[in-house]
Subunit: 138 residues, 2 copies
DNA sequence: GCTTGACCTAGATTGCACTCTAGATTTTAA
DNA sequence: TTAAAATCTAGAGTGCAATCTAGGTCAAGC
C-alpha cells in the first residue's frame, strides 16, 4: 500500500505503450477491472495491477480479440469468483481463433515464400526481359 | 480462347468469396492487372486469370497486406517485366511482416494457453469460491 | 506566485476496408 | 414477350478502434 506505486495516466501510457487517449477510451468502454480512482482534482490514479491487466489486454488485443470480447471478459473478471467456467470458455474460444489464424498465416507464408524464391532466382539470374516465363505473371 | 471461360461478376464473387461490391471496389482501386473488359451492355467480363490473381490477392490480404501495398504490387506487375527486384523487395518485406506476426501470435498463444490451463484446473477442481488464489485475478 | 506541462471532458474526426443504397439498365429464363 | 434476376454507376453509410480538438483545469518546479 505504498504511495510510490501510484501512477499517472502518462506513466501508464509509457509503460503499456497505449497512449493517453486510448487509456481514456478503455475506461469509457469499461475495459478496466475497477473504477479508476481520481485525485481531488479529478486526475486518474492507477496502480501496478491496472498496468498488469492492461498488458494482458494488449496481448489479447494484439492476438485479434475485439474490444467487445475483451469487454465481456473484463465484466466476468470484475464480477468476481463463480464464473470461471465462462471465462475459460471465452479464453478457449480465443485460443482456438488464434491457432486458426496462425495456421492461416502459415499457409499464406508458404505461398508468399514460394513467390519470393522464384523472384529471387529470377533477379539473381539477371533481370533481362524475356528470360523468364512464369506460369502466372505475378 | 474459349468463351466458356468468361465469368460474370457474380461468378467471380462465388469462386473468390469476395462479393460483388468488393470486386467493384477492387477495380476502382486499380487492384486488377488489366482493365476488366465489358459486354456491349457494360457488364464486366472476367477470365480465369483474373480469378487467380484475386486468389493471390486474398492470400496477401488475409496475411495482413494493406490495400495500398497490394495496389503498389499490382502496379508493378501491370507495368510488365523489368521491375522484378522491386516486386521481390515488396514480397520479402511482406514475408518478414507475416513471420513477425506469427511470432507475436505464438508468444501470445503461450500466455493465453497458460491462462486456459489454469482456469481449466480450477474449473475441474470445482468452482466453489475461495478455493483459488490466483496471483492476478484474471 | 507563476509558468509550464500534464491532465480533464465531450464530442468530432480519422483511416481502413468494405458494404450498401437508389435508381436505372441488361440479361436470363419461362 | 415479359417477368425476374443480375448488373450498372456514383456516392453515402458502416464498423472498428482509436485519435484528436477545443476549451479549459491541475500540479510541479523555479
Amino acid at each position: 500500500m505504498t504511495d510510490t506505486d501510484r501512477l499517472s495516466i502518462g506513466d501508464v501510457a509509457k509503460v503499456t505503450g497505449l497512449g493517453v487517449h486510448a487509456l481514456r477510451f478503455f475506461e469509457r468502454e469499461e475495459l478496466f477491472l475497477r473504477p479508476i480512482p481520481r485525485t481531488a482534482g479529478g486526475q486518474r490514479v492507477y496502480e501496478p495491477a491496472d498496468v498488469e491487466w492492461l498488458l494482458l489486454c494488449n496481448r489479447l488485443r494484439e492476438s485479434g480479440m475485439p474490444i467487445a470480447t475483451l469487454k465481456r471478459f473484463a465484466a466476468l473478471v470484475r464480477s468476481g469468483p463463480g464464473n470461471e467456467a465462462e471465462r475459460l470458455a471465452l479464453l478457449e474460444e480465443h485460443e482456438r481463433a488464434v491457432r486458426d489464424k496462425v495456421a492461416e498465416l502459415t499457409a499464406s507464408l508458404e505461398i508468399i515464400h514460394g513467390k519470393v524464391v522464384i523472384y529471387r532466382q529470377h533477379v539473381e539470374e539477371g533481370t533481362a526481359a524475356g528470360l523468364w516465363s512464369p506460369a502466372s505473371s505475378a
